[in-house]
């Protein structure tokens, strides 16, 4: 079981680096969707006892993160007619290197934590830290509003991975609540993107600074 979870998480971590390194927005959305689907599989692999909850969570996660959210983002991309290229504040290579450094630090940091043996064997904790860091990196180094949305999505993925540790303890309603928040958040942002685009003809979040007055 551990081996399969670890293999899954390695792919998730690689996707993180891919998200930081890609220059196409479509690829970014697809990567995030793929990550969502992979994470959806996790409760099935982790859960020991047969019960309906993990299946519900898995199904909800996969449908939402793997299909609905990407669809919305693609629609926003189409409607707003944004250019296909990601606009990073610092270059793609530096962000990738930062992401890799973050991953390495996460692994080193997680090995210092006093975890339950069954958790210290898997990559769950470092992967969660690394994914959260990736989300932050995307949020802080990308200009366009739509890439910011994806940053939030990845950030949430990180929290979700950490939540897997508490799968036994955490009522799945909470998890569903998080998913709902996320859904609403992205829904709102894509509406906003649409409107900003119509009003201002630019989606550069740096320009939002001019609203501070």
């Amino acid at each position: 079981m551990n081996a399969s979870v670890n293999a899954l998480l390695v792919v998730v971590l690689l996707l993180n680096l891919f998200l930081l390194g890609t220059s196409r927005i479509r690829a970014l959305i697809q990567g995030a969707a793929l990550q969502g689907i992979l994470l959806g599989c996790m409760p099935l692999l982790l859960h020991q006892h047969l019960s309906p909850f993990p299946f519900v969570i898995a199904a909800a996660t996969m449908i939402l993160k793997g299909s609905i959210v990407p669809q919305m983002l693609f629609k926003a991309l189409r409607d707003a007619q944004i250019k296909r290229e990601v606009e990073p504040l610092i270059g793609l290579i530096p962000t990738m290197l930062l992401g890799a450094l973050g991953t390495a630090i996460s692994i080193a940091f997680a090995s210092q934590l006093a975890l339950v043996p069954e958790h210290s064997q898997t990559l769950v904790v470092p992967a969660s830290f690394a994914t959260v860091l990736t989300g932050f990196l995307l949020l802080t180094t990308r200009i366009k509003a739509i890439t910011q949305v994806i940053g939030y999505l990845i950030l949430e993925n990180g929290i979700y991975i950490f939540g897997m540790l508490l799968l036994e303890a955490m009522p799945f309603l909470v998890e569903l609540g998080i998913l709902l928040d996320l859904f609403v958040g992205i829904f709102v942002v894509s509406i906003i993107i649409h409107h900003i685009n119509r009003e201002f003809a630019s989606l550069d979040t740096r320009r939002l600074a001019s609203l501070k007055e």
């Binding site: 390695v10 971590l13 390194g21 220059s23 890799a100 991953t103």
Partner: protein
């Protein structure tokens, strides 16, 4: 003892005769994807024979380094090829630390290829040289990170035992994730070092977009033959390196393992051909990102080894 001598002999024979075939297979695959018949698989052999029979045209601008370039590069890759084990068989030369020699022999070749390119004074060849030295700076660390994984796995510092160590493990004890990661990283290195798509397009007719082919524009006749032959050996050697990482299989019968090695090498060239057919060449400014991700893949594999 006799078996060892026999295997060394086969190593040498394969090393000298087989490399041009890989390029033929790649081109055949690409032609198949494009719906063409394509050149014969043995085309490069014909080319080489024709080239060595031709006379050379030597630019009046050049000095001895222009002619030394292809010769030394070919010598360096031949020596490198003696350090790499083919399949499960030992390399003819192996000693502790030969992996460093392996990497630096390619650097030696690069030094002379680029110096020879600059020696012609042609702006195009200078452009190719600039790209070659730049991209090498990013692919060398990836190669060494991959070596670190293998050193960690085998506890030795020589290519032969290092590359055989994945075979010694059973599937359960094998660090599959690490090996897959460095396998992916090494595949990118193979593509980049041999100037294949998506890094470089060997078939384009625009000098502005090429790396390796543009550096050798002025070489002709036997010197060009040396270059083409050296390039095919380089591809062969790097594929053999990759092979032991991604396909650590053996049967313990030399009569089966040697044909298996040949088939596997041809399979890798088919894969390269497929990659070249389904991908477009990257913009030059995006190549560094690809190479850095190769380093990251290998570095990641190393991190996972330590857990």
């Amino acid at each position: 003892m006799i078996a060892h001598a026999f295997n060394t002999l086969i190593h040498l024979v394969l090393l000298i005769t087989m490399p041009p075939m890989l390029l033929g297979v790649i081109n055949k695959t690409k032609a198949w994807f494009g719906g063409r018949v394509g050149p014969p698989v043995l085309q490069l052999y014909y080319d080489l024979i024709r080239l060595v029979q031709k006379g050379m045209v030597i630019s009046t601008t050049t000095t001895w380094i222009f002619q030394a370039g292809p010769i030394i590069t070919l010598g360096a890759v031949l020596l490198a090829a003696l350090l790499i084990p083919f399949g499960r068989f030992d390399a003819p030369i192996h000693f502790g630390g030969d992996l460093i020699l392996f990497a630096y022999l390619f650097a030696l070749g690069r030094f002379f290829t680029t110096a020879a390119a600059l020696d012609t004074g042609s702006p195009f060849e200078g452009m190719g040289a600039a790209r070659e030295v730049t991209f090498a700076c990013l692919s060398e660390p990836a190669l060494f990170l991959a070596f670190l994984v293998l050193v960690k796995l085998s506890g030795t510092y020589s290519l032969t035992p290092m590359l055989h160590s994945p075979m010694a493990h059973t599937f359960v004890t094998l660090p599959v994730a690490s090996l897959l990661l460095i396998g992916a990283g090494l595949f990118i290195i193979v593509l980049a070092e041999n100037c294949r798509i998506p890094v470089d397009d060997p078939n384009t007719h625009l000098e502005l977009t090429m790396i390796h082919e543009v550096m050798v524009l002025d070489h002709s006749g036997p010197l060009l033959g040396f270059i083409l032959y050296g390039a095919s050996i380089k591809l062969f050697v790097l594929c053999a390196l990759l092979l032991n990482v991604i396909a650590p299989f053996q049967s313990r019968f030399a009569m089966i393992d040697w044909p298996m090695f040949i088939v596997e090498m041809l399979a890798i060239s088919v894969v390269i051909g497929v990659v070249e057919s389904v991908m477009a060449r990257l913009q030059m400014r995006h190549v560094p990102t690809l190479l850095v991700s190769a380093s990251l893949l290998c570095g990641f594999g190393f991190l996972l080894m330590l857990r």
